[in-house]
Symmetry: C2
Subunit: 144 residues, 2 copies
Amino acid sequence: MSISSRFAVGIHILTLIEFNKDGITSSEFLASSVNTNPAVIRKLMGMLKKAGLIEVHPGIAGAKLTMKLSDITLFDVYKAVNVVQDKELFSIHENPQLNCPVGRNIQNTIEPIFATAQGAMEKVLKNVTLEDVMNDIVAGENIG
Amino acid sequence: MSISSRFAVGIHILTLIEFNKDGITSSEFLASSVNTNPAVIRKLMGMLKKAGLIEVHPGIAGAKLTMKLSDITLFDVYKAVNVVQDKELFSIHENPQLNCPVGRNIQNTIEPIFATAQGAMEKVLKNVTLEDVMNDIVAGENIG
DNA sequence: AAACTTGTAACTAAATTAATTACATGATAT
DNA sequence: ATATCATGTAATTAATTTAGTTACAAGTTT
């Protein structure tokens, strides 16, 4: 099991929009960099737009960021593309046997632990902005 | 997307083995508490056995823990049941366009961030033992 | 030998992902 | 105004994963 690559692609889209900010960033242009189908990109653009991260208009070519890179965290992207629901990174088996002490308590016992673990992961994402990502990409260019 | 419930079921199995330590904890008994099929349980028992957490023998009914609950962390269970591979909680799109500065750097940039996020989640699991889980189950019994 | 258990393989149904195709709708330039 | 190009979105597909189910071989005990 893995968290959908929609998340990674969402990051790719947003950083590329910024990278190409003086040009026109169409779904086809993005699709070529990501190496996927433009319709896949447009679906993701719809999610990013709904989350208020980008501005796109029907019929008008190109997407623009609505904020500075430094104001967008990876958590924002993660939520926007809907890869993991709240408290549902881990799934818990349904309908355990209530006649059993373990069965009738396991869900309540485990759920908060899972929520804490998920929260710790998400906290890392909250502490990284797209500006950090962009800086790393630029550094990769200079070194490589 | 969600991490397989094998993890939660694995925790259920181990705590129930302990809870029933003076009796015989067969796959059928476990299956009834978890509310699933005995073959599902046996498959999980195989994984827990392979990880050295339990002792089971062909033809002999019942499983036993090989360690104290306080020596088994949730991370041990998580690894045993193989729900998430190393560095693969998040997936990254393959084959981005190398002619693009973002495309050729995105993987290297994102991977360590994702690894850090996964690591933070796993660290929480390392800090909870099955003894903690058991205590919470017992507490749930006394209060509920 | 009969009864019971674990170990395992094969098959199924359901869910999710990513890709693909197609087309309606909106905007623009000639 | 109409041809052209972009976005928005729905329908379909193939691949993967999960959990459940059935079946049976192999080991153990009485």
